[in-house]
Amino acid sequence: MSNLSKSKYRGFEADRSKYPVEEEGKPVIDLESHKFTKIWQGPQHPGVTGNMAVELIINGDEIVDAKAHMGYLHRSFEKLMERRRYIQCFPIVCRICVPEPDTNEYCVSAAMEDLAGITVPEKAMWLRTLNLEMSRVGSFLMWIGGQAGSLGMGAISQWTVGMRDYWLDLFEEMTGGRVYHMYMIPGGVRKNLPDGFKDRARRLIVKTRRLMQDIDNTFLSNAIIKSRLQGLGVISPEMVDEYGIVGPNARASGREYDIRMNNPYVCYDNLDIKMITATEGDAYARAQVRYRELNQSLDLVAQILDRIPEEGAIQAEMPNLLHWKIPQGQTYVKAESTRGEHGFYMVSDGSEKPRRVFARGASYTHAISVLEKLAVNVSVSDLAGLMVSLHTCPPEIER
């Protein structure tokens, strides 16, 4: 497989000749031959990210074939939104992605605003930017913990998830919710910043930077981490287009695609922000890209805190949202989540309820097509690490 030949994968390099013929790039597997074992990882398995399952055919420790199974978290948000008024949509969309709910909130509000032609006041824009960037910090922190945890280094997950909790405290102060913030409503945001928030946020940034230093020392400069992640799950630049790969996964393969810069939304065009890329395309490069993006996000939060205007409206002039009707039309609004392009496609038919809402989660391809391709020839022990390094989030796949 091309994937294998390009990679610097140092595991047991399997001899493909012992496998039966391949058809359409997939080996034909005879389970009766007792050469292969079929195992399921997940949904009840600590190594899978969230509630999903991977059906594996293994030979020894090596994965021969992988199939991702979804639907354990399917709640059909899109169907439910078709039954709900526009204003009733925003509390439910944040449930689409648990670690980073704000991107959903932003997208669904922005889609409605785009369709209804509403301009959000500047201060609300800044508060949205702050919220989005803070949620990126939280999500990345959780991801680092996940990546270290999936390789068996519990200490780092303990630190980062603990640190994320401090960020959740900030969220709680700012929005009134710990995990589901439900902060952005169509037209603006729900609350002003509480007193003293900026100082507390700045102190937390310093604290987080200190932790990032420790993580650099113990995680990124860890011989065993390097030996396991380097060469694992290599995404080639050709694959990026072919599979619709986005976010840090694409950037680690050299694709300069970050919606915050390519199609700036909220206040990102006013911020000092640089594209972060790498060229190796393996799990370690992805970890590095994410680590640097986390640092950048901390930087951005600091910048935003300095620039939020003190005065100003936080919500545009809105009609009675209880009976809000949006004129006919369709739109696609996207934002950069920690996993990549997160978008909402909304079709309105002029009634009080949306005709169709579709949430495009970045993990949609990452966790199915890409994972199924990259998992082949990988050791079972690396599967968890690989899944985390793709940063998959099942609820946004099946919605």
Binding site: G71, S76, E78, E242, Y243, G343, V347, T365, S369
Partner: protein, 186 residues
């Protein structure tokens, strides 16, 4: 972008064209010409990224609208290619050869909308549902609340009052109903 639209107009029958934002356009094309236009956009016009493929149920017109959302990295423009297909016999050509993740969306659409994509790998496999026996649930005529009430056990004992009716009951119960108009033609 205008140039591109003109170019596309020269190539295929463009049924509709709309600009939503500076970085978002929609074009509606014929079902038969879709594959051609998609591969042209991908190979020659730089629309290499397929963000998603989704369906919208326009039950009143008995149509499904398929939306292929493309993205051009160079110009930063999203282009939604729309196709209307028949709702009674929903079938569409597969794009799994153009994009390696196309089959995923097609599998989802087959399960949730009942749209068939002949030739798409694993299209008949179940995606999120298991043991589903009703009509494809994302269709507009499937009533999810009714299904939920029928299938899952609701906790009983809830009742609500309409303030309007309740106040009438309490305050002006005997207030006469509006008289019927006596008409000749009845």
């Amino acid at each position: 972008m205008e140039q591109l639209i003109r170019k596309i107009k020269g190539m295929v029958h463009l049924k509709a064209y709309r600009k939503q934002r500076d970085d978002l356009y929609f074009i509606t094309v014929e079902k038969a010409q879709l594959e051609m236009i998609l591969s042209h956009l991908k190979k020659n016009e730089g629309f290499t990224h397929l963000a998603f493929l989704q369906a919208v149920d326009f039950i009143e017109d008995s149509r499904f609208q398929l939306t292929y959302m493309l993205y051009n990295y160079e110009t930063g423009v999203n282009l939604g290619v729309l196709v209307l297909i028949d709702r009674d016999k929903p079938e569409m050509n597969s794009i799994h050869k153009l994009w390696a993740h196309g089959w995923q969306y097609q599998r989802e659409l087959h399960e949730l909308y009942g749209i068939d994509f002949p030739g798409s790998p694993r299209v008949h496999e179940s995606f999120v549902l298991e043991g589903w026996e009703e009509m494809p649930p994302m269709r507009r005529d499937f009533d999810t609340l009714e299904y939920s009430e029928r299938t899952f056990f609701q906790r009983p004992g809830r009742s609500t009052n309409d303030p309007k009716e309740y106040m009438k009951e309490k305050m002006y119960k005997n207030y006469a109903a509006s008289p019927r108009i006596r008409r000749d033609d009845e």
